[in-house]
């Protein structure tokens, strides 16, 4: 940076300041452009045309290795993931505190192990192809009228105008909760953020694309089905940027040939109906057999 060592006029100083500001603006513009071309993704949270908040997610590195039955290890290396368009939409709703159009639909008229039915038809049905998220990616919170029943929540996979399908009723400690009582009140979303912590695999060899809404050919068998990944804080945030990791050690129970991609989701289901948040092509495809352990670690960068 140029250092001012002599006495300068106010006009000269103003011109110099503009020059540096333009250079800085250009650098920032270039950087953002770079980010949006493969090394990460930016979430823009807008109210109307006005940009309220910008959150950067990425670049996120994904590491995978296989521990074979004989104890030998195959390192599959590092690759980077992709925030999908549908995942971007889900994230905007979370950070912006979106409330479902039509209201929550409380109280319920029926509750099952994987569904809750609203009073009337208050919701817009989800359809990932449109794309119309509906309630997909939100959480529903409810309670059970039992002496041991805790408040529970479900991650919403999809919905019709009156029925929300969830993965299961979760307790606060990641157990299976008691099914809530029908006829009681419940809350959907209203600023509640789900967790992108469910990891899925596929042998589909297609390239990862931001337009993908689900993980094509998601594996559901042999211990390689979608699973809850373990969260851990990473580096201490510095300069508004920090990382955390999501890791899953798949305990394989049968042969899977050439696992190519990994996806991160907000619900524990393999129905292919819920939106995929991140998609990653593994650096090297993984072929595993009964007794092997496939460990996948996603290091997510989160910054403002």
């Amino acid at each position: 940076m140029e250092v001012v060592t002599q006495r300068k006029s106010a006009r000269w100083l103003l011109a110099a300041a503009r020059k540096h500001a333009d250079a800085a603006a250009f650098a920032v513009k270039s950087y953002m452009h770079h980010l949006q071309n493969g090394d990460g993704a930016v979430l823009d949270i807008r109210r109307g045309e006005r940009l309220e908040q910008r959150v950067r997610m990425g670049p996120n590195s994904v590491h995978a290795f296989v521990t074979h039955r004989d104890g030998s290890i195959t390192n599959l290396g590092l690759s980077k993931n992709l925030l999908t368009n549908i995942g971007n939409m889900v994230g905007q709703g979370w950070f912006g505190g979106a409330i479902p159009a039509g209201g929550s639909g409380t109280p319920s008229t029926a509750v099952g192990a994987t569904s809750i039915t609203a009073t009337g038809t208050p919701w817009t049905a989800s359809n990932l192809a449109t794309p119309q998220l509906g309630l997909a990616g939100f959480r529903v919170y409810a309670n059970a009228h039992t002496t041991t029943g805790k408040t529970v929540y479900g991650n919403i996979v999809s919905n019709t105008t009156s029925v929300a399908t969830i993965d299961q009723w979760w307790t606060d400690v990641d157990g299976v909760g008691t099914t809530p009582t029908s006829g009681d009140g419940f809350i959907i979303g209203a600023g509640g953020i789900s967790s992108v912590r469910f990891m899925a695999l596929t042998t589909n060899s297609g390239a990862a694309s931001a337009t993908d809404t689900t993980l094509t050919g998601e594996i559901t068998s042999n211990g390689c089905g979608r699973a809850l990944a373990t969260f851990a804080r990473g580096s201490n945030p510095s300069g508004g940027s920090g990382t955390f990791t999501l890791q899953k050690a798949y305990s394989v129970t049968g042969t899977e040939t050439a696992i190519v991609k990994m996806g991160l989701f907000c619900a524990l289901t393999s129905a292919g109906a819920d939106p995929m948040f991140f998609e990653t092509v593994l650096n090297q495809s993984a072929t595993v057999g009964n007794g092997d352990t496939l460990t996948v670690t996603d290091t997510v960068t989160f910054s403002g």
């Binding site: 211990g223 089905g225 129970t253």
Partner: protein, 153 residues
């Protein structure tokens, strides 16, 4: 969706395909129970409590533990799994299930075929023609792209 197993640790219900080639799954997809990594301390403690052990045997166990610290030892905890097909209707109701929601898992080999019983395979005559052993067969499928093209198998 039909379920075959219930994780005794977290209560998650699992489909039969989760177990793959095995009688029960290796690990729960929610809590990870079913597999323990590292030395099996329960087993080690049980062995060390044996009063008949000689000092040399105790040393050998200690060396075994020390070596295991540096290796990935994987122990399957088969008792983590409740086989739903063996549950009573009352138990199933407690889990929010009915009999129609439950399936029994049959362990299979990597190709997806049911594992045959050990010993020589017997041919059995039926009323539907000559006997044939239930051997897996290879099916080749061809496909051609274009107008008026037909698949053949």
């Amino acid at each position: 969706m039909k379920y075959a197993f219930r994780c005794k640790t977290c209560g998650r219900l699992h489909a039969a395909e989760h177990a793959g080639e095995n009688e029960v799954p290796h690990a729960c997809c929610v809590c990870g129970s079913g597999v323990q990594y590292g030395p099996n301390f329960k087993d080690i403690a049980t062995r060390l409590c044996d009063p008949a052990l000689t000092p040399e045997q105790r040393t050998a166990i200690a060396q075994e533990v020390a070596a295991a610290q540096n290796n990935l030892v994987k122990t399957y905890q088969l008792d983590n799994w409740e086989v739903l097909a063996d549950c009573t209707p009352e138990q199933l109701k407690e889990y929010g299930l009915v009999a129609d929601d439950v399936e029994r898992h049959i362990a299979s080999d990597p190709r997806g075929f049911q594992v045959p019983p050990s010993g020589p395979m017997e041919t059995v005559a039926t009323d539907k023609g000559p006997a044939s052993p239930p051997l897996p067969k290879a099916v080749f499928v061809g496909a051609a792209e274009g107008s008026k093209a037909k698949d053949r198998a």
